[in-house]
Symmetry: C2
Subunit: 685 residues, 2 copies
């Protein structure tokens, strides 16, 4: 009945979980204090020991991150650009993984008790009656005997293993929120149609192509007897979905730092975002081993419902925050304002999860809404505070994930590396990506006035980096043989794409003659390299124009202090309500085109994102072939900004009423201006 | 063998723990996927349900905090000052507690399994053999049958209960770090002797007096038969220790906002800090039910060892951060710098815990060291970033603790309210505080040139608020009857002190004729209300003078960019090393008295602490009797700042060499200046 073997589960860790769990033990120990003194002291010692061990484990990660930061600095300082910081974090993680696995030898603590009982399933909680007292035990997971003992330091390695859900639920949200918060919205909306096509149609294509190729590979493996367990068709599809989720973070970081051409950026970025959203939903769908059409349709319906629900929830929280910050004078107290902003954004995630939607999607749209509306209401200090806070959280979470990724290559106990499967997977993601980009670009180009050039397509093909998202999805479930093999393979794919594709982005861009060092907010028409055809492309995005007008005339004035007063945009019958809802600042701003606020976040972010102002001004000295263009860019940036802004706001100005801003409380609003579409300049926006 | 009863432990929650744990369940569910599909689906549903529930619970707290923030704003906006924000957070917590307890009725989920086994103790982990598969279960705690079912919604209430250790290990560290980081060091060091006396001697006195009074009370209760369980003498002492820990946070917040007289502030603040340190160690000591002298001496030795170890660890991490930020050019990348700063500060806590010291103490001294040295090396952006980040963390943690405090008055399942015990406790803390303050002040006044006036003593007596620290200590262990009674009583004490003492601070201060609205960095000699005797008081603090000289001549130049170059303060033989260690900025700053950096943090903090600049400038309009003084203060503040600074730096200037700052690399340092003590102005510092 009693087998001596002290164990800790492989799902025991968490961002703070190792410590928490051990503290829990602590508390538990104290709860059991009435036992005999001797037993108590021993257990207390053990709990303390375990607590120390957990602190030490977390310390390893902190030191890893610290080292990464120092090396990032060194790289930036010396202008090494062949390896991105996420790649660095991974390498450090790998080293520590190797040391933990092969370098450290700890004696295994052997005392554990095995009970045998006749149950047909494992309950989540059991009560154990120990000589009259009842103790509660909670399920930690199934233990597999055969594997845990092949590896030395199994105990140690299990201790540095974190709960997989931590990645999905704690580390991803700040990353996704920050991505939404710092999204270049203008370009995003301009290319909305293409982005949605790439995201929805492209992902599904890519997912199925990858899945089918993998299924072929698996069948082949089975035939030649290289497969050690079950691998169903749905597993293949799931694998396809996982590895189709290109990483918004890594690509964003690289492209942002290189100041790559705006449209490519928008296309990639948008695609990735919605991809994220799709795959974020994936693991919650049914994952049966059979495949039929009606089930697919049904789950598509569920997916759409969940997606739109999450979207609505994220937008709603954003709107609520905007209203609160608008109608209270919270801006006098930046600390309170930032705290509120942070809490409301976090509550989006919780709210979505509590309602059964996906928190990650909600957080993404919440970030976009917050940046679009709430940001305008914040005080100057809160603006910088909130940006810096989310930037820091994003940075820490991202680097934590990547260094953990490196570590887990050695510390994970159930790796299944199948060379043929790995080769098949690399082939499959290549084909899947190609099936996503090229045919779709061809179709889109039929409708687009501003064609997606073939060099753009090659870069989009090449920079399909897989990162934090893919990792979080694949580590979420590593129970079966299939999932373990998928996890190991995914890890290799992430390493490869981050190191090779990430490191190769700069050469690739120059090879494809894509402009590097382009200010993301600079209008294309003012750049000197003959890409003027792009200045008219937004004519095609009519839903954007429609949305923009509605947003500018009604939503912005309602939710923020900027935009034209509602009194001038709403029909006269709504006068009293409009006066209530319009802030006095809006009247003052009426003549001043206060939309600068919104644009500021764009301008600021491009330099603040990774806060290396020196790098962005050092663009001349960059060892890329784009030096001369970068120089031109710097010139253009300083001289053309006002022009750019005027061009951009050309349409806005027409919508604005011409009433006297010095008299904010005119009892009757002026008649609504002539429809904006009548003016040729309107097309610019 | 199988008893139907689904349970969740009362120690299951955590700052993120509810979610994490449930996610864990999630992961567990997926691990067990190979079971039959049907069981799977049911368990998955359940896990999902539980996950939603946990998200909803966390959401309650977020909404609570949001409401608190909005109300704080309203109070600040309308200038209500009778209730502090922490008091507000508590009230909201109370409301939610009442609603959860009496308003919501959820059906109880009944399915749990009880195993009986013959063990003489409860192991931390057990393996359960369920029809051939092994599942791991971990101990959560002892379950008491009788109590959990008297209360409706027991399940619900247990879900909103957090792991007590969370407060101590996750929420306290940021609060304590922030307190250390924003400590007004000059006044702290000036009154170091008195502070240490109050802290060490005073706390021990207070602890024993309270403990003895409580023991008398307990004996009385036992005689009249009102005691429902054991209550040992050590329990009384522990209670004394807990309630002797006055709150640095609450008092700090109130005094800081009111800008109370500098010395009172320093005395109270310093006292509280070291109190915190003492009691932070307490729960780790032996807690036997017997009492003997040798054990006391031994644990005193252990305490001193742990205290100095934690101190050294905190200081060491701070020094390391200072060195890293000095010798790298990390300041070009504020994000990296802030991230490093944050991680290093956090690692202090983990390092101390991993080595068996107390993280809280280490974090306090780390904060002080960081503010004293590292802060000088940071870039301007990182300075504001780090301050804002820690301020936000502090604010959120503090308000979370206080709203949880309110909630737990109703949600905690094992309250033991004994009216006589409560009355005894209030009497005991009053006597304990009196025994701490008055005799010690009398003794200190014998040695102090600048006497601690009796009105100061009364205010110190009155404002012994108990807050987050006391709560975290008392909730840490609520297993026995004695501890439960202590917890319930402590809760009432905290409520009383925060509402009555906290709310009554303003009237009390005016009653005692203590100046309100004093700039904490303003030298006393320039204020117009006849308190000039204080301007000479620092003569008595000779250890501070000694320390200051050493710090200014060697430590500051070594660790930061400020201070005189080491080449001028070290003997000539150390020339090469000195040149290596001195940054080029130090030479440039040599003539400029770069210590302003250090003072800036002081000046900034007094207004930044709660970021209500408007309140501090609104001091004229405050409904306190000190209006005229506040007016005078405002006058003095603007006109006398340069004078103040000059006075303060008078001593500094003498230490500085008179070499030419335009020639930073003089090969031979000038001879060391004449001993600073020879100059009368030196006494000012």
């Amino acid at each position: 009945m009693t087998r001596c073997q002290r164990r800790r589960t492989s799902v025991s860790g968490a961002f703070m979980l190792p410590r928490l769990l051990c503290l829990l033990c602590f508390a538990v120990i104290s709860l059991a204090e009435e036992n005999t003194e001797m037993v108590n002291v021993v257990t207390e010692r053990k709990a303390e020991e375990s607590h120390r061990q957990d602190s030490a484990n977390l310390l390893i990660f902190i030191i890893l991150l610290t080292l990464t930061i120092l090396t990032i600095w060194l790289f930036k300082h010396r202008r090494f650009r062949f390896l991105h910081e996420t790649g660095l974090a991974m390498i450090y993680g790998l080293f520590v993984g190797i040391i933990l696995r092969f370098g450290v030898h700890l004696p295994q603590d052997l005392n554990d008790i095995t009970l045998t009982c006749a149950m047909n399933s494992s309950p989540t909680t059991i009560l154990v009656n120990v000589s009259g007292r009842f103790y509660e035990y909670s399920l930690k997971g199934e233990v597999r005997d055969s594997k845990g003992h092949d590896v030395p330091n199994a105990e140690m390695l299990r201790k540095v293993t974190f709960d997989p859900e931590v990645f999905f639920n704690i580390l991803l949200p700040p990353i996704i929120f920050h991505a939404g918060y710092s999204l270049k919205r203008r370009h995003f909306f301009r290319n909305l149609g293409s982005i949605l096509s790439y995201a929805f149609v492209g992902t599904v294509t890519s997912c199925f192509v990858t899945g089918l190729v993998m299924y072929g590979c698996v069948v082949f493996l089975k035939v030649i007897g290289q497969l050690g367990g079950d691998f169903f068709f749905t597993d293949c599809l799931f694998f396809g979905a996982i590895v189709s989720a290109t990483d918004p973070v890594t690509v964003l970081a690289i492209f942002n730092e290189l100041k790559v051409d705006v449209d490519l950026y928008a296309l990639l970025f948008g695609e990735m975002h919605i991809l994220v959203s799709i795959v974020a939903y994936q693991p919650e769908g049914d994952n049966r081993h059979t495949f039929d059409g009606s089930a697919l349709l049904k789950s598509l319906g569920v997916f759409l419902g969940v997606f739109s629900g999450s979207f609505a929830m994220g937008a709603a929280t954003g709107v609520m925050t905007a209203l609160v910050t608008k109608f209270t004078k919270l801006r006098d107290f930046p600390l309170l304002e930032t705290a509120l902003f942070f809490l409301m954004s976090w509550s989006t995630f919780l709210l979505a999860e509590a309602c059964g939607f996906t928190g990650v999607v909600a957080v993404l749209f919440c970030g976009i809404t917050q940046a679009h509306y709430t940001y305008n209401n914040l005080s100057a200090e809160s603006k910088s505070r909130s940006k810096q806070l989310f930037e820091l959280l994003d940075f820490l979470a991202e680097n934590f994930i990547f260094s953990y990724m490196g570590l887990t290559l050695f510390s994970f106990q159930h790796h299944v590396f199948n060379p043929l499967f790995v080769i098949g997977a690399f082939l499959a993601i290549f084909l899947g990506r190609a099936a996503n980009i090229y045919p779709l670009s061809f179709l889109l180009n039929l409708g687009r006035k501003n064609k997606i050039a073939s060099n753009f397509q090659h870069v989009m093909m090449f920079s399909g980096l897989r990162g934090a998202m893919t990792f979080a999805l694949s580590i979420r479930d590593t129970a079966t043989y299939a999932r373990q093999m998928m996890f190991s393979t995914t890890l290799l794919i992430v390493f490869f794409t981050v190191w090779v594709c990430g490191g190769g982005t700069t050469p690739m861009l120059s090879l494809m003659h894509i402009r590097v060092g382009v200010d993301t907010d600079q209008d294309n028409s003012v750049t000197p390299d003959g890409m003027t055809q792009k200045s008219t492309k937004h004519e095609s995005a009519w839903p954007f124009r429609l949305w923009y007008t509605f947003d500018h005339n009604y939503l912005k004035p309602f939710l923020t202090h900027s935009g034209p007063p509602l009194t001038s945009t709403l029909p006269a019958c709504c006068g009293p309500i409009a006066r209530c809802l319009t802030s006095s600042q809006a009247y003052e701003n009426a003549g001043q085109l206060h939309d600068e606020d919104t644009e500021l976040i764009l301008n600021d972010d491009s330099s603040l994102m990774y806060s290396d102002m020196t790098v962005s001004t050092d663009a001349h000295g960059m060892p890329t072939p784009s030096t001369s263009q970068a120089g031109l860019y710097s010139l253009a940036r300083t001289s053309d900004d006002p022009l750019d802004r005027e061009l951009v706001f050309g349409g806005t100005r027409l919508v604005l009423p011409t009433d006297d801003p010095s008299d904010p409380l005119t009892s009757f609003p002026p008649p609504p201006p002539s429809p904006p579409l009548s003016d040729p300049l309107r097309h610019r926006v």
